[in-house]
Every structure is written in structure tokens, then in C-alpha cells.
């Protein structure tokens, strides 16, 4: 009898997996819905701005679009909630509320259980700030590291390595049949944002009279990023004195994308070398790339080539980098036994 009533209690709650990212945040819900939003939150600067934008708060692309009328926040810079900054905490809170509202239909349960993925390195700091941020909108919460959520989602729980290349951080995680501890997880800060900045600098150097900004550069990267030899030259339209002009940015794109490789290769080899020697060859065949950076053309092949010097290797990218973290977090939340949930 008790089990039946417990099962009923579970059904009354909506379960969600959330991946809080620097650039994008995603949510996967037990009702089958999945949504993502750019991690921007903006409040109108004054009552005129409020009238212009027509809402008390804007999110994602809409917020970026109206940025001149808004106090715009990207609260997860470097993958860390800026705990202590009231407005940033408020922004995270609103972002989570917004994400939940995107997947929560009227007939869904009011109570929400969430597993939230955060960057591995700042686990504790984020957890504290998250609890504050989520308390109003989730009834129970568990926090896991982002790469671990990805690993769980693809069932890579033993003898595998996940490299989650986000905007603010590249998170590494070795899975060996248990929850990864600190030694199994590493983070480097040269990630997607770093590529953007590098590309911006290179373009500014080469095309000093062209008009572009960091947002444009980010879009170029998302569309054309590559490592090694490109299939064709990368040419983009950039205004010069107001006139859209074709620019060849192939070399700059390659240099910028390859700038994050040394750190990734070094840490990847270091973590594998520290692993049980008997299983190092198994890990080399189970390297999984996740996050937006996994879409860089030629990256998986490059890393596989580096690893193949040590023996047979396999590097795969997840099918859906946008939702791999939130899907993994949802899978974990759904598998989590009832007794392990604690009220926020």
C-alpha cells in the first residue's frame, strides 16, 4: 500500500533536467517537452523602456535584441552563478522560472523536481546559489556536474571520458562506475567564449576598417567553426562603411578554433594517464564530446588522431549537443529513488 501511495506522489510531480550554461540553458521535462534559451535576462531600464519592450522581463534572444532598452545580464559567466550579486542571482532565478514555464503546461503537476547540471569546477558555489534561486520554483533539487549528466544520459558510466565544451568552460569527467570525484573532473576556461575573443582579435587585426562585434563573431563561429583543413573557404558578410562586404576569414577561424586544443589535449592525456593502466585502452575508445564545442568540424577526428598514437581510439560527439546535458539530468532525475529526494 505504501508503495502505491508513493508512486502516486511521484506522478503528481513534474520532473525536469536542466543544463545551466554560460551561453545557452536547456530543459528537458518528463512530459516530453524540451526547450532551450540563450542565457540572457534583461529588465527594462525605465518605464518608457518597459512600454517599448512590452514586458517586465525578457529572456534569451529577445533580451539581446532589445538590449539597448534593458539592463542585460548574462548571469552564468564562466559557468558560475555570481553568488552574492543580488541581480545575477535574481537573473538565474528568473531564468530557471522561465525554463520551467516553457515546458510546464496548465494540466501538468505544480510540484517540480529538478536535477540541475552545473560546471564541474564550481560545484559547491553553484549549488548554494542554485538552491536560493530554485527554491521558489522547484520542490526538490539535486545538483550534478554537467559532464556527469551527459555521461549518465548516454549510459557511459564506466571506463569513459566526457569532454563537455561549453561557452565558458571545457569540463572533463572520467567515469569509472561511481560518481566522479574531484580528481576525475577538471575544467579549463579556454572554451567557446575564448574562441570568440580570439577570432574577434584576429579579425580586428586583419580587417581594421570592417564593422563587426562579438555577437557577429559568435554567429560566424557557430556556423563555420573547424579544425584542420576546411571543405571550402569561409567567407562572411561584414559591413565596411555600411556596405555589406565579403570577407575571407578561413585562416582566422582555424587559428581561433585551434587555440583551445593545447589545453584540451593536455588535460585529456593527463586524465587518461592517471587512470588505472589496465583500463586506459578502454577509456581511449570511449571518449565522448558534448556541448556546443563538440560541433566544431574536425575536432573529434583531431582528438582521435592524437589518441591513436597511444593505441586504438574512438572519439564520438553526442547526437544532440544542445540537449545532451538536460536529457542526461532528466534521465538521472527519473531514475532517482524516491527516498533520495529532499525538499529544497
Amino acid at each position: 500500500m505504501a508503495k502505491k501511495s508513493e508512486a502516486k506522489a511521484v506522478d503528481e510531480k513534474m520532473i525536469v533536467g536542466i543544463d545551466l550554461g554560460t551561453s545557452r540553458s536547456a530543459i528537458s521535462a518528463s512530459n516530453g517537452k524540451k526547450k532551450w534559451v540563450e542565457s540572457y535576462v534583461g529588465w527594462p531600464k525605465d518605464f518608457i523602456a518597459k512600454k517599448v519592450v512590452g514586458a517586465p522581463i525578457l529572456f534569451g534572444g529577445e533580451a539581446v535584441e532589445h538590449r539597448l532598452s534593458l539592463d542585460l545580464y548574462r548571469p552564468l559567466k564562466n559557468g558560475v552563478i555570481k553568488e552574492g550579486t543580488a541581480r545575477d542571482e535574481e537573473a538565474v532565478k528568473e531564468l530557471i522560472h522561465h525554463l520551467i514555464s516553457l515546458v510546464q503546461a496548465k494540466n501538468d503537476a505544480d510540484k517540480v523536481r529538478a536535477v540541475v547540471g552545473v560546471p564541474a569546477e564550481s560545484f559547491k558555489v553553484n549549488k548554494v546559489a542554485l538552491k536560493k534561486a530554485v527554491a521558489e520554483y522547484a520542490d526538490s533539487l539535486l545538483v550534478v556536474s554537467e559532464p556527469f549528466a551527459v555521461a549518465y544520459g548516454v549510459n557511459a558510466l564506466d571506463n569513459a571520458m566526457v569532454i563537455d565544451i561549453g561557452a565558458g568552460t571545457v569540463d572533463f569527467c572520467i567515469m569509472h562506475g561511481t560518481v566522479p570525484n574531484e580528481d576525475d573532473q577538471r575544467t579549463v576556461l579556454t572554451a567557446g567564449d575564448y574562441i570568440d575573443q580570439q577570432l574577434y582579435n584576429f579579425l580586428e587585426e586583419r580587417y581594421p576598417h570592417s564593422d563587426f562585434n562579438l555577437n557577429m563573431v559568435r554567429r560566424f563561429k557557430e556556423k563555420f567553426s573547424f579544425i584542420g583543413e576546411p571543405e571550402k573557404a569561409v567567407k562572411v558578410d561584414i559591413p565596411v562603411d555600411g556596405r555589406p562586404t565579403k570577407h575571407d576569414i578561413t585562416d582566422e577561424m582555424r587559428r581561433a578554433c585551434e587555440s583551445i586544443l593545447p589545453a584540451i589535449v593536455e588535460l585529456m592525456l593527463e586524465l587518461i594517464a592517471k587512470f588505472d593502466p589496465e583500463y586506459q585502452d578502454v577509456i581511449r575508445k570511449n571518449v565522448i564530446l558534448a556541448g556546443g564545442g563538440s560541433q566544431i568540424e574536425g575536432l573529434a577526428e583531431y582528438l582521435e588522431k592524437v589518441l591513436s598514437e597511444y593505441g586504438e581510439s574512438k572519439v564520438l560527439a553526442v547526437d544532440d549537443p544542445l540537449f545532451s546535458g538536460s536529457d542526461g539530468a532528466l534521465a538521472l532525475a527519473q531514475d532517482m529513488p524516491e527516498e533520495y529526494w529532499t525538499e529544497v
Binding site: K77, V80, K82, E83, G84, T85, D88, E121, S122, F123, K124, V125, K127, L142, V143, V144, Y152, V154, N155, A156, L157, D158, N159, A160, G177, T178, V179, E182, D183, L189, P262, A263, E266, K274, N286, I288, L316, A317, V318, D319, L332, D335, M336, P337, E339, Y340, T342
Partner: protein
């Protein structure tokens, strides 16, 4: 994409899910105690245990009061205020607690209460309130992270750009001065650390002014400094390679370090009578633990990142040295030799704002990593898996 691994099983998943639950409790600082079989107690079991303990505590209190009343009736009050009348409380199969009940309840009686804990197969252990409140066991244990035990946080970070004003510090072959490099990096580091909005970051000097070592120490100690980071650039004409090293306070480990300390301490403005007070500060377990951990984190971040640009750079590691600023400042403190200005290539790079900005980022990364992990370990460990090489290097 789903990775199929033949070794996986439902059991593996269950263990991992339980691990996630435990990990979350651990981060909360709310890890439940292990039961007799070494298993972590779930919330429900914990509640039941709490209830039992509460009941036991109430029972002990009532029994104690009852005995006090009996003792008061049987014996006249004395100034000594205590007898050895002992009562035994049965704790089921787990053992027996004998309690020395005071004959009357003078104001100071609570500090004198003693308890004897008896368990089958174990020698009786006498516990008294004074011993229970004695933190010296923790304070003197070098393996216990005091910042974790006491949950100490960081609010104010003082960054000390070395030298300045009339004192240029080391000067490179091209005329680059140490005082200018470290000031620029310190200003950048302040901005980066303040980005989080969590810390107040102040500089001992934010312009090219002369400042003695004692003034720097006084500056740090007059505010509510929680961390102190002193920035310097090495000058080692006798060495071929560029190197990075980080120091915290301690007796010198080698002659070279002693010479460097002499060089950096020059013009400290200290008097002989100050020395005794300084020595008293030696042996501060907390400061040493945190300084060593911060040094380890900064050194690791700086070296591993700079090595990506400069394959020949040497990791001189974490060292212990008697620098005046490290000893004088009450808060955990480190001195970082971020680079070596006597290497011509390095001097050229130090003149580039982008390179200085990179170094600033690596310093910020090391400091942030330390701050993020500060209260994670109750037992002292080595940050980043890097071994402290203070004694060997």
C-alpha cells in the same frame, strides 16, 4: 547516441544514484552519519535516530534532576559542591554511561560534570565538558582543514604589487621594471576577482608609489584581510630557463631561497624588538594550511597555463621562505614570482598587454579555484593533485 558498455548493470546505476544523493548531502555539509554497518543513513532513518536521541536526552535530564534532588535531601550542601555519587544509565546493549551527579547545582557545576562511557569490549573513556570544548586537538592537527571545520569564508582579498616608487624591483636588459609589470597585473587581477561580486579586492598600492614592507603589512592587518597575495617578478641571471614559483611563510629550505628572501626583505623597516612578535606568529596552523593550499592552486594554474605558450618554462613549485610580508600579514598569504625578467624573451613578452592579461587570468583562475574548493575538504589534501614540492625543490 548511447554508449553500450557490457559491464554496466542496474546495480551500477543504483550505486551511482546513491552516490549523487550522498554527494549533494556532502556539499550541503549535511552528510548523514553512518550506521553500524557503515551505511549512510537515509533521511527517514536519520529522523528516527534524532527522535531517539532527543528522547534519551530528555530522559537523562530528568534523571539528573531527580538524582540532584535526592542528593540534596541526603547530604547537606558543601562549598566543594560535588560528591562522587555515581549513577548508572543503561543504554540497552550498547553500553552503560556513568554520570557523576553533583550534590548541588552551583553556577559553575556544568563545567565540572564528567561522564564515563562504557562499551562492551572497550576500555571505559572518561569525558568531561572541558575536554569536549577543547579545540586544541583540532587546532594542532596539521591534517585537518580548519577553514572547513569552522566554515571560514573569504570576503576581503589584498593584492600586493611588489616594490614601487623609488624601488623599481628587478630591471630587465631592455629596461623593463618589475614594479610596473606587477602593478599592471595587480590592477587586472583586482578587476577579475571582483567580477564575481563576491569579494572586496584592495591593492596595497594602485599607483607608482614607494611603500615599505612594514607599511604593506600594516595595511593588510589594519583592514579585515582574509587573503593576501603578493606579486613579484624573478631576476635570475645565473639561470638559463624562465621559471615560476610561489612561496608561503616558513623557515628557508635552501640557500638560494634565503638569498631571495634577503633581497625581497631589503628595507623592511623592522626593528629587532619586532622580531619576537613576528616569531609568535610562526606555527599558526590555519594560516599555514590555507597559505600552502592557495600557493599550490596559484602555482598549478600559472605554470600549467604558461607552459602552453612556453614549453621550456620550469616549475620551481611551492616553496617555504621567510619573506617579511608573508610572516607579518595575519591572514593566509602567498608571494608569487610570476615570471623571470632576466630572460630576454620573457621580458619582451611581459611588455605585451595581452601576455600580462593572460598571466592575470591564470592568477585569477588559481585564486578562484582555491576559493571554490576552500571549504570542501575537512581533511587537508593537496589541491589539483599537485604535490607540494616545498621541501624537495
Amino acid at each position: 547516441m548511447t554508449i553500450r558498455n557490457p559491464t554496466q548493470s542496474g546495480r551500477l546505476k543504483s550505486a551511482i544514484l546513491k552516490g549523487v544523493y550522498d554527494e549533494n548531502l556532502r556539499i550541503d555539509g549535511d552528510l548523514p552519519p553512518a550506521d553500524r554497518n557503515g551505511q549512510i543513513l537515509t533521511k527517514r532513518k536519520k529522523k528516527a535516530l534524532t527522535g531517539s536521541l532527543l528522547f534519551l536526552a530528555v530522559f537523562l535530564l530528568l534523571a539528573s534532576l531527580y538524582l540532584d534532588v535526592l542528593n540534596f535531601r541526603e547530604q547537606p550542601a558543601t562549598i566543594a559542591g560535588r560528591t562522587t555519587a555515581q549513577t548508572e544509565f543503561s543504554l540497552g546493549e550498547t553500553g552503560v554511561v556513568e554520570m557523576s551527579a553533583p550534590a548541588l547545582l552551583p553556577a559553575y557545576s556544568s563545567a565540572q560534570e564528567s561522564y564515563i562511557l562504557r562499551q562492551p569490549g572497550i576500555e571505559p573513556v572518561e569525558l568531561n565538558a572541558e575536554k569536549l570544548l577543547d579545540y586544541s586537538i583540532i587546532l594542532n592537527n596539521a591534517n585537518v582543514r580548519l577553514s572547513s571545520v569552522f566554515g571560514l569564508d573569504v570576503q576581503t582579498i589584498v593584492i600586493d604589487p611588489g616594490h614601487g616608487g623609488k624601488d623599481p624591483g628587478a630591471i630587465g636588459a631592455l629596461g623593463t621594471k618589475e614594479k610596473d609589470i606587477v602593478l599592471d597585473i595587480a590592477l587586472g587581477l583586482r578587476d577579475k576577482l571582483e567580477e564575481s561580486g563576491k569579494y572586496k579586492v584592495v591593492l596595497t598600492r594602485d599607483s607608482d608609489v614607494t611603500m615599505s614592507l612594514t607599511e604593506r603589512v600594516e595595511f593588510a592587518n589594519s583592514g579585515r584581510t582574509d587573503l593576501f597575495i603578493s606579486l613579484h617578478v624573478n631576476a635570475l641571471p645565473q639561470k638559463r630557463e624562465n621559471l615560476i614559483e610561489t612561496y608561503y611563510y616558513g623557515p628557508p629550505q635552501d640557500e638560494e631561497t634565503l638569498r631571495l628572501a634577503e633581497q625581497e626583505n631589503r628595507g623592511s623597516g623592522l626593528l629587532t624588538r619586532d622580531f619576537e612578535n613576528m616569531i609568535k606568529k610562526i606555527g599558526n596552523t590555519f594560516k599555514e594550511q590555507e597559505s600552502a593550499t592557495l600557493a599550490s592552486s596559484i602555482q598549478h594554474s600559472l605554470f600549467t597555463n604558461v607552459k602552453k605558450y612556453d614549453k621550456d618554462i620550469a616549475d620551481a613549485g611551492i616553496k617555504i621562505a621567510p619573506f617579511v610580508v608573508l610572516l607579518g600579514v595575519d591572514a593566509p598569504s602567498v608571494l608569487v614570482e610570476i615570471s623571470c625578467i632576466t630572460k630576454k624573451q620573457e621580458e619582451l613578452k611581459l611588455n605585451m598587454p595581452a601576455y600580462r592579461d593572460e598571466i592575470t587570468s591564470f592568477l585569477a583562475e588559481g585564486t578562484t579555484r582555491y576559493l571554490a574548493r576552500r571549504n570542501l575538504h575537512v581533511l587537508k589534501g593537496v589541491e589539483n593533485g599537485q604535490k607540494e614540492r616545498s621541501k624537495s625543490s
